[in-house]
């Protein structure tokens, strides 16, 4: 039962560096001597970066006001009380008064912040229909199943925009008033409500359905607004470029927040006299209090902030860089000790031999 193999040489493997596993290789032998300079360099670089980050974060000014109404002098507590119990809460107004001793350098952004609001809840965050929001007429009539139970009204009409996210659209509104002198009249600060969403969002991702006879309302004919909405989607704003699905408030809201405490941009202050920032003086933020948050123990805040190259105020990154940089330097010193002692040991070994 012997089968003679084919001629010798046919089976001989190639004698290449690859097949014989002799490829030239860099062998990183990690030892203190190599790591030493690495740690010092990295440490110094991190500390430098950390200092920069820390100072730029410190340079950012932020003003925030909790207008949930659980406590505090403002009129919002009344609204909060009124909010309790009734499903469609009655409209309520309150205000936040504050004064700036000096210029609040621009550009100033007005945010609202919600806490304990789980926009990232799985069931909630999938409850939308991107196809519908991109203006696809068929999707307008036939919202995706993910939208359920906000897919269709009881009457059978499709909801546009469908889904829980749209239904829970934040509907408090703010206006900022400036009082130049004490006792003087309040001047409304112009709020730019257009540049608050990603450009790509409101120009590519979110599109209105093609208007019928030039009318957006007709395009939405045969659909119903979400149950919580007092008015249809095409009436969100009088500005024709900012209404319907491309309404920037709506677009911002639809970009679901990653964490239960989140801010969303409400407006930018960059027009007229306020392009350089908010001059000193007294200010009032008039709030239309609609949005119920007490049911889930959340709070509502209004925030005025400016930003730097690294975004909003957050000292964490700077501190972290500083800490890690220091740690690296420390480890570097440990390595130095190790290196010296190890070297000694080596020499001893050599001597012994």
């Amino acid at each position: 039962m012997t089968w003679s193999a084919a001629a010798r040489g046919a089976h001989q493997p190639d004698n290449t560096a690859f097949t014989q596993q002799r490829l030239p290789a860099w062998q990183p032998l990690l030892s203190a001597s190599i790591a030493l300079p690495l740690f010092f360099c990295a440490g110094l670089a991190f500390i430098g970066l950390g200092l920069g980050l820390f100072y730029s974060s410190n340079g950012i000014k932020e003003l925030e006001y909790d207008y949930t109404g659980t406590a505090g002098p403002g009129g919002c507590s009344a609204c909060a009380l009124a909010d309790r119990g009734r499903a469609p809460p009655p409209p309520c107004w309150c205000a936040w008064h504050f004064s700036l001793p000096e210029l609040f350098p621009g550009p100033v952004y007005l945010y609202y912040e919600l806490t304990n609001f789980y926009q990232n809840n799985r069931r909630y965050s999938v409850s939308r229909d991107d196809a519908q929001l991109s203006g696809l007429p068929s999707a307008l009539r036939h919202p995706a199943n993910e939208c359920a139970p906000y897919q269709r009204r009881a009457s059978g009409l499709p909801i546009a925009p469908c889904g829980a996210i749209a239904n829970s659209l934040f509907n408090d509104s703010f206006s900022l008033w400036h009082q130049r002198r004490a006792g003087g009249p309040y001047v409304e600060v112009p709020l730019d409500r257009t540049g608050i969403a990603w450009w790509t969002d409101c120009h590519v991702k979110f599109r209105n359905p093609p208007p019928v006879n030039g009318s957006l309302a007709l395009a939405f004919h045969g659909t119903a607004p979400p149950p919580n909405w007092p008015r249809p989607v095409y009436a969100l704003s009088p500005d024709p470029n900012n209404t319907g699905f491309v309404n920037q408030d709506f677009v911002v809201w639809m970009r679901t927040a990653a964490l239960p405490t989140f801010r969303k941009l409400y407006a930018r202050i960059r027009q007229g006299n306020y392009s350089a920032g908010l001059p000193r003086g007294s200010y009032a933020v008039n709030i239309t209090y609609n949005y119920p948050v007490r049911a889930f123990g959340g709070r509502k805040l209004v925030v005025l902030s400016n930003i730097s190259w690294m975004g909003g105020k957050n000292p964490f990154l700077g501190i972290a860089y500083l800490a890690v940089g220091s740690l690296c330097i420390l480890v570097g010193f440990v390595m130095l000790v190790v290196y010296i002692r190890y070297q000694d040991q080596n020499d001893e070994d050599e001597d012994e031999e």
Partner: protein, 1403 residues
């Protein structure tokens, strides 16, 4: 199609066969002949079942259908799958893996609408892909097996066809039970068959069973009684008998049945009548047999236990760790479920961001948790722990030349071998006995040229290059076959070539020996270069020395006489069969010319050539027809033959293979004997002694011996031109160059047996006309039988004494060199003495009671007062590099067992030669006849070992269930255990397994001799299952197949003995020496790579999945993922898969050279150091840490900002990618440009994908939306800052650990890495330092451990201690005496055990 149908039929028959057979056979009462056999050693399948075989021919058609129609035909199928069952069966096999099953469960779960998380298709995708790839791999493997099966099935054999009234060619697969098959010499037997006819005049047939049991000597089979008397070939047409025999079983050494003639006369059948599948017909021109077992029912096939699904240790470990991960996941999910429940319970009412179920109910927390669980699981699935396995499978090592990887999924096991089981013959040795040295009359002839010649015999050289390159030139002018299946094809000019003088160059170079043709006749074995000194002495030999015998001869000629006698003894004191090399079946001198019908043109040609040679040399063909004298001789020889045949009971055969005399009976055919065919150079006839007399005659002779030693000696004698020309039962013709042809009248042969350890021939010397006894035997035995008082006066006596002493010295020297030693002695008897002995011997032979003892006594009477002639040293050549490999493997901490079918002496000899045993090892020999004795002996040895070595014993006790007996290397006492097959049987029984293993654990090396194939596999199984160690079995023959299959790793040597071992193996190598590199280098690498890779996969997945887990704390445990799921899938499938694979394939922690030089590094793998549970958990911990960092760094950075879900996920993902890849870089020990390419490629592919996907995917996959996120981030410096910081912080601990490890406490592997960087000179220096440090460390430790035991041992060396420390020269002798003692001890062990007789080791 027909093939398929037949196949289907075959399987259907296999299915239904059992019941059918029952129905058919029940009416027959069979017990009378078959059941009387008594106990069976290995219980065959079903005792009592039997089969009836009738000829598979037309007249018996009905009967045939009735009896044999359902028997399996000769087609074999070793494949696992068929086209039909491939898919289900392969799936079944694959789901042995826990991970596969688990993923299947998940995939199925996803089809349940309630828990459907992602699209069904996506979840199925990875599973399907991996299963498909593995299935393809399995399919290809199976296809290869199928092709080989087909090749075997389509071999051609001659089957009798009634239609054509002759034997026609048929494929093996078409052979059926009941077929008549005619086989020629050198053909392989296609199925088990009963021998009905042999062309051999003695009605015997020789078969070579190396394919079955590894023994390469010839075995003899006899024609069934009743047919033996017929001279004509058996005619299948007239065959009307019926054969009944036992059902197929796997017992190779047993066959029972009877043949019933039509007249109801019964003839018993035994294993002597059975030709086994896979064996080769040798030495017999043609045989005819009837098939009784075919195909899978043959004994050879039944001895192959089926293939086993092998899973590597690492895989098994990984499987359990997969379960751990599942558990971890469950914990995480439980956390999620509880968390979600708690989170929900905080709210009294339905809240608007929690969506009520369609029917208005809020989903229950548990269900929500399940959602979460489900999401996580799918992420883990996409995480592909899976890839571990597929990578193990993909993973194909580039092995060294001619190494075949046949099983791809256990490569890493090569790095963890703890026990190695090796076959001896053909694996360690070349299976070639080579005459090395001899000592005649006290002078050592060391045959330096011969040694040089042997050294130059590199295997490759002798195979590939012209033999003209070898210094000796061709001696054997045998014709070489072209194809191994038929040896009779002459490959070139036959006849004699002019014999070149000693050291002659390429003159007369004839055919290159290409393959082994007859047993023990490779040129290396047959060519012996004579020693020049001895040749000088040969030149003094003249016929005159003998003729005037009474003349006072001076002293020097006495030595010459010794030399003559010595070589005559070498030539005739054996049972070698002489045959012409081109037609080995023909026994020269008997019936080769006259008795044999001329078959073919080719043979006529050969014949003519032979005749033409003779015509020139021999004056008459028919000279000396009758032996000159010896009226009683023929009678005696026949008588002795008779006695031998009677003696040939199975037990006897096992003990001594040589008891089967190949001479056969010649009584029935008084053939014309052709004596004294003096051929060779005519010039020599004239008595002219050439300048170099040490040349054999150029006669094309071939010796077929039963044991390779005999052949080696005969060939050696031939080299001195003392050529055994022919042998018949009555006489021997020796062509002694200087003396002319000598015809010895063969008076008697006392065959070899293991009790006497010697054999003798009694001949009448043609020159002196005296009765001379030539004895050849183990040195220890012969030395005791030498004559004390010589009749030839004081001077001779003195000389004998001197010769004895000198020879003893030489013997010790030989033994030290690992040679097998034999002593040659002679004795001259007077006719009266001989006749007296003969009378007694005749009485002994004819006595019925105590015949064996009487015969032994009789032999003792003959073999005494011997005159020592000299000694020989024969080498069973070890394969190249074997001792070095074994030494290295032992240094690597591998315990090596040698399992061999050979006899004890040979095995021990080889063990010494290959350094398995060291000269000062202490040997324990287990050779008992009963279980109780075995038990006693074991406990005695154990006790002794415990005394010697208390420390190691505590640790090695098996009862504690320590999975890994520590290497006793450091403990100072090295011990070797030798156990014989019979005793092994006891030891393998349940009750003795414990002590046996305990015993073996204390021993460095274990040698099992006379082990059957099944025992071999049982030993492996025992060690494997009880000690829970990694085992490796290596072998080359079919007898090793079951062992190879049972072991964790089976290695086949693609050597001389066919391909069965290779087919069954996981790896096939060409030589034993490659094993070293395979284990030490590739094994180490594979293990290190794979262990690290598996750890890495666990790490990777845990780290990545944990990112999601941490996010659950911030999304109400609702199971949201912050990453688009395409990215999730591709993250594991694409972006981070290639680097680990490249790492797993190319990682090289230490260079091959260093690994070979420092076998100690292998121990890391044995202890599974790279993948300990601790390592696993530390890795998981690190993964946890890294995921924490990777999540919370971005979390705190983006806390309270307006970041959205998927934008938040983006830096997380990116940082995770960098962490995971750089982690690998830190762990890598070597980085090539391929690594770099793949790493850079992976990162780029991720970024490109993210950018493209972000640009293209506006509304795709609804829940998530990555649109333009990456683009936004690429412009955001914070993104970069976060990623850099996260990556650094996450990797810092591991980096620091690795740095400190490299500097403060480097592992041996790390230190070895440093060696690779040194210059060659520094390297050798460092290596020396290393090994010195290693040994001193060991020594000090060992002295510290048991100083008491040491000093005690030194102070009071007991008998066994003395034995253990005995210097090597005396050791060899001692060993032999030990074995004698032990046999004696066995017989009366029962009596002695009461008195607390210590083990034979003290003998």
């Amino acid at each position: 199609m027909t093939e398929f149908l037949r196949w289907a039929r075959y399987h259907w028959q296999r299915l239904t066969g059992g019941t059918n057979r029952d129905d058919d056979e029940r009416p027959y009462n069979y017990s009378s002949l078959l059941a009387c056999g008594g106990k069976t050693s290995q219980t065959p399948k079903v005792a009592g079942r039997h089969r009836v075989v009738v000829p598979h021919l037309r007249p018996f058609k009905d009967e045939y259908e009735k009896f044999s129609g359902t028997y399996v035909n000769n087609r074999i199928r070793t494949t696992k799958y068929t086209l039909l069952n491939f898919v289900p069966r392969n799936l079944f096999e694959q789901f042995h893996r826990a991970a596969n099953l688990y993923f299947l469960f998940l995939a199925v779960l996803n089809w349940v609408p309630l828990v459907e998380a992602f699209q069904k298709e996506i979840t199925m995708l990875p599973l399907v892909v991996v299963l498909t790839i593995i299935a393809i791999k399995d399919g290809l493997e199976d296809y290869r097996k199928y092709k080989i099966d087909k090749q075997i099935n389509n071999l051609v054999t001659k089957v009798y066809s009634r239609k054509e009234k002759k034997y026609v060619d048929q494929c093996w697969k078409d052979v059926a039970v009941g077929d008549f098959i005619r086989l020629s010499c050198n053909e392989v037997i296609p199925a088990d068959m009963v021998l009905l006819f042999s062309t051999d005049p003695d009605k015997i047939c020789h078969i070579e069973t190396s394919g079955l049991d590894g023994e390469s000597n010839l075995k003899q089979r006899q024609v069934v009684r009743g047919y033996a008397e017929q001279d004509s070939e058996v005619d299948p047409e007239k065959f009307s008998s019926k054969i009944e025999c036992e059902s197929p079983n796997n017992d190779l050494s047993r066959f029972r049945g009877y043949l019933e003639h039509s007249n109801k006369e019964r003839v018993g059948l035994s294993k002597e009548n059975l030709l086994l599948r896979g064996c080769t017909i040798r030495n017999t021109e043609a045989v005819v047999g009837i098939v009784v077992y075919a195909g899978h029912e043959t004994k050879a096939m039944l001895n192959n236990s089926g293939p086993r699904y092998k899973r590597s240790k690492l895989e098994r470990r990984a499987n359990t760790d997969v379960l751990w991960c599942v558990l971890l996941l469950f914990v995480m999910c439980l956390t999620g479920a509880l968390g979600h429940g708690i989170w929900l319970s905080k709210y009294e009412n339905i809240i608007f961001f929690n969506i009520p179920e369609p029917d208005g109910h809020v989903i229950s927390p548990v269900l929500a948790g399940f959602y979460m669980f489900w999401t996580m699981i799918i992420l883990l699935q996409l995480g592909q722990i899976y890839f571990i396995q597929s990578d193990v499978d993909f993973y194909n090592e580039k092995m060294d030349s001619t190494v075949q990887c046949r099983a791809l999924n256990i490569t890493e096991d090569l790095g963890q071998i703890q026990y190695l089981f090796s076959d001896k013959t053909g694996t360690l040795t070349e299976n070639k006995m080579v005459f090395r040295r001899c000592s005649v009359a006290g002078f050592d002839y060391c045959h330096e040229e011969n040694a040089r010649r042997l050294d130059s015999y590199q295997e490759a050289v002798s195979e590939d290059e012209d033999s003209a390159d070898t210094p000796s030139g061709p001696v054997s002018t045998t014709a070489r076959p072209r194809a191994p299946s038929c040896r009779t094809v002459p490959n070139g000019p036959l006849g004699s070539k002019p014999w070149s003088p000693l050291g002659g160059s390429g003159e007369g170079a004839s055919e290159v020996p290409r393959s082994r043709q007859a047993a023990f006749s490779s040129p290396m074995e047959t060519d012996v270069v004579p020693d020049t000194r001895l040749l000088d002495k040969f030149s003094q030999i003249t016929p005159q020395l003998f003729t005037p015998l009474e003349e006072p001869v001076p002293n020097p000629p006495l030595e010459i006489l010794y030399i003559v006698d010595f070589f005559i003894a070498l030539a005739i004191c054996n049972t070698v069969v002489v045959s012409a090399p081109n037609q080995p079946r023909q026994k020269i001198g008997l019936s080769s010319l006259s008795g044999m019908p001329i078959k073919s043109l080719e043979e006529i040609k050969n014949l003519f050539q032979r005749l033409s040679v003779r015509r020139s040399s021999s004056p008459s063909l028919a000279s000396g027809k009758e032996p000159t004298s010896g009226v009683p001789n023929a009678f005696v020889s026949r008588l002795s033959l008779f006695s031998r045949m009677k003696l040939a009971s199975p037990v006897e055969e096992e003990a001594s293979p040589t008891s089967e005399s190949p001479q056969g009976s010649s009584g029935t055919s008084p053939c014309p004997t052709e004596v004294a065919r003096p051929n060779g150079d005519p010039g020599l006839m004239g008595g002219q002694v050439g300048p170099c007399p040490g040349q054999p005659s150029a006669a094309p002779l071939c010796y077929e011996a039963e044991s390779p030693d005999e052949a080696a000696l005969v060939y050696a004698a031939r080299a001195y031109r003392c050529t055994l020309q022919s042998r018949s039962p009555e006489q021997l013709v020796v062509d002694f160059a200087a003396l002319g042809p000598l015809t010895f009248q063969l008076l008697h042969i006392l065959p070899f047996d293991s009790v006497r350890k010697r054999m003798s021939v009694v001949v009448r010397h043609p020159l002196s006309n005296q009765v001379v006894v030539y004895t050849k035997g183990a040195d220890s035995v012969i030395m005791e039988l030498l004559s004390v008082a010589s009749p030839d006066g004081a001077s001779r006596e003195k000389q004998q004494m001197i010769i004895r002493e000198k020879t003893q010295k030489h013997l010790d020297d030989y033994a030290r060199r690992g040679l097998r030693t034999l002593c040659i002695a002679k004795k001259v008897m007077s006719d009266t003495e001989y006749e007296e002995w003969l009378r007694n011997h005749f009485l002994a032979e004819t006595s019925i009671d105590h015949r064996e003892e009487l015969l032994l006594e009789s032999a003792m009477r003959l073999e005494n007062k011997l005159t020592l002639l000299g000694a020989t040293g024969i080498e069973d050549r070890l394969q190249e590099g074997v001792p070095e490999s074994i030494e290295a493997l032992q240094r690597a901490g591998i315990k090596i067992w040698m399992l061999t079918g050979d006899k004890q002496e040979t095995a021990v000899n080889i063990a010494y030669a290959c350094k398995l045993l060291e000269p000062d090892d202490k040997l324990f020999i287990l050779n008992t006849q009963s279980k109780d004795a075995c038990e006693m002996l074991m406990s005695t040895i154990l006790k002794e070992l415990r005394e010697k070595n208390p420390a190691s014993n505590v640790r090695t006790s098996v009862s504690e269930g320590l999975p890994q007996p520590p290497a006793t290397q450091g403990s100072g006492l090295r011990a070797g255990l030798i156990i014989t097959g019979k005793t092994l049987e006891f030891a393998l029984q349940e009750s003795l397994q414990g002590p046996f293993l305990e015993l073996t654990a204390c021993c460095q090396a274990v040698i099992c001799c006379r082990a059957t194939p099944l025992q071999k596999s049982e030993v492996v199984k025992l060690v494997r299952s009880h000690l829970r160690v990694m085992t490796l079995a290596i072998g080359d023959g079919a007898n090793d197949v079951s062992m190879i299959q049972v072991a964790d790793v089976g290695i086949g040597i693609s050597g001389q003995e066919g391909m069965q071992a290779v087919m069954a193996s996981d790896f096939a190598i060409s030589q034993f020496k490659h094993l070293g590199k395979l284990l030490l280098v590739h094994g180490h690498w594979c293990y290190a790579r794979l262990a690290n890779m598996i750890l890495y996969f666990f790490y990777k997945n845990v780290a990545y999945v944990n990112l999601l887990f941490w996010y659950q704390f911030f999304c109400g445990f609702s199971g949201t993922s912050m990453t688009d799921y395409w990215v999730l899938i591709l993250f594991n499938l694409l972006f981070t898969s290639a680097p680990p694979v490249i790492y797993g394939v190319l990682e090289k922690d230490v260079s091959a050279e260093t690994l070979m030089q420092l076998p100690e590094l292998y121990k890391r793998g044995q202890k599974s150091e790279a993948y300990l549970p601790l390592t696993f958990w530390i890795t998981l911990l690190d993964a946890f840490y890294q995921s924490l960092v990777c999540f919370f760094m971005p979390y705190y950075t983006y806390q309270g900002s307006d970041i959205d879900i998927f934008t938040f996920g983006n830096p997380l993902n990116t940082a995770a990618l960098f962490i995971i890849i750089l982690h690998l870089v830190i762990e890598s020990k070597s980085l090539t440009w391929i690594h770099m390419l793949v790493i850079v490629g992976s990162i780029l592919s991720y970024l490109v994908f993210a950018l493209v996907f972000g640009a293209m995917c506006v509304t795709c996959n609804p829940p998530s939306n990555p649109y333009w996120i990456m683009q936004e981030h690429m412009l955001d410096p914070v993104f970069y800052l976060v990623c850099v910081l996260t990556t650094c912080v996450a990797l810092l601990p591991r980096f620091i650990y690795r740095v400190l490890q490299g500097s403060l406490f480097p592992s041996p592997v790390l230190r070895a890495q440093h060696l690779d960087r040194l210059t060659p000179e520094e390297r050798t220096e460092a290596l020396k330092k290393w090994s010195r440090a290693g040994t001193t460390g060991q020594v000090t430790a060992q002295y510290a451990d048991h100083p008491a035991a040491k000093s005690e041992k030194r102070a009071t060396p007991g008998p066994s201690a003395a034995f253990a420390r005995m210097p090597a020269p005396s050791r060899a002798v001692e060993r032999r005496s030990v074995s004698v003692h032990e046999t004696v001890l066995d017989s009366d062990f029962c009596e002695k055990k009461i008195s607390g007789m210590p083990g034979p080791s003290k003998g």
